[in-house]
């Protein structure tokens, strides 16, 4: 039986973007299904009945959800390009930073983008602090993964979204003066051929975010 790999995603979602990056780095053939989040398909609801969210990877009929769980699955299932290092301690460090990005940076980014006005200033400050940790972790490396892109780099794709939001909102956060290493990293990251293929077009993303930010304030 031929292998079947499906990915349910949304183009502008960094989370499905991560999975695409990983599949492409591994050279895995897959079929991409774009979901309309306002009108979720029966397939999505069947494959992710608990969270009803994208991304969902379906491998030979088996669904895997949650982007970081999917990345680990991809690394374990398809050999070739390693997303995680071999050494258990280095793997632990990578997992720690990947978790840090989603547990800390992501909520701060969300609050900074969409939070109520009084929350946003604090969120930006917090985010700056978190980005500093990532700045220090990069040290003199080209990527978090060393010479080549690894799991932490893939999860850090959020920075691309952050930059788009900065442009859309006219905010300056990730400056070269404050974050020289992260700035370099972003440049290397988006220049990578495979990453480029998996990133949502920046101008479309900025337009989308501008629209979102410009709209009426949504009260909680």
């Amino acid at each position: 039986m031929a292998e079947e790999v499906l990915l349910f995603g949304v183009g502008r979602s960094p989370f499905s973007g991560r999975v695409e990056m990983a599949l492409k780095l591994k050279g895995v053939e897959y079929k991409y299904v774009e979901e309309d989040l306002a009108n979720k398909s029966p397939s999505l609801l069947k494959y992710n009945p608990i969270h009803k969210k994208i991304p969902v990877l379906v491998h030979n009929g088996n669904p895997i959800v949650e982007s970081q769980v999917i990345l680990e699955y991809i690394d374990e299932t398809w050999p070739g390009y390693p997303l995680l290092p071999k050494d258990p301690y280095e793997r632990a460090i990578a997992r720690f930073w990947a978790k840090f990005i989603d547990d800390k940076c992501l909520p701060a980014i969300f609050k900074a983008f969409y939070g109520e006005e009084k929350e946003r200033e604090q969120a930006v400050e917090e985010l700056s602090e978190f980005l500093n940790y990532l700045e220090n972790e990069l040290k003199e490396k080209k990527f978090f993964g060393g010479e080549s892109i690894g799991m932490v780099d893939i999860v850090a794709n959020l920075i691309f979204w952050l930059e788009a939001w900065e442009e859309a909102s006219g905010t300056e956060l990730l400056t070269r003066e404050k974050f020289p290493r992260l700035t370099n990293w972003t440049h290397e990251f988006v220049s990578n051929t495979i990453v480029k293929e998996s990133l949502f077009p920046r101008d479309k993303l900025v337009a989308f975010l501008r629209n979102r930010i410009g709209g009426p304030n949504v009260s909680k």
Binding site: I50, H59, V69, Y89, R91, K99, Y133
Partner: protein, 224 residues
Amino acid sequence: MAEVKVIGSSASLFCLRVEWALKFKGVEYEYLEEDLRNKSPMLLKYNPVYKKIPVLLHHDKSIPESLVILDYVEETWKDNPLMPEDPYEKATARFWAKFADEKCIFGAWGACRAEGEEKEKAIESAIESFKFLEKQIEGKKFFSGEQIGYLDLVLGWIPIYLNVMEEVGDMKLVGAERFPLLHEWSQNFIETPLIKECSPARDKLVNYFTASLSYLRSLETKKQ
């Protein structure tokens, strides 16, 4: 000097799962109790980002975050595997571990802390999360199959801590009638020799949660 050390707090469910994992693998370790109200320079050195326990020290390497530690323990000491070999089954276990940590632990704690109308909502929401676990254990003795494994250790706080949270928070989430399968799993889990030998005393946990709740409520009152 011990090769493996755990910096922890005896009331913490996150530390407990690390200790269980090490014992499961037959790894000798030294336990270092941390006073969370007065964090040691050692903890701040080994977990500068979060400043939290547990932290595993293996020779000169430090690993924080309990689920990251469990992965490290699994990959470093290969005997007695905790996780399934099959990548899909492993992914499923990882999914449920994440789900339970995000929805069930914080759901239960949220229901414990909440008051008034919010409490009802928090209880309902937490119960919905536990229903998923009830479904997951269907047809199995343990979440990992015939014997305890990774997911059982991650969920093992339920038989030990949940009832304490219910008592301290004056609420009911998981009872034998509503969740018969979870209840049966809980009984099997705590009877496992490894778990029986390594579980905190109930009154210690009651004191800990009572004090934590009191402290949080006093902070909330000050804010108003």
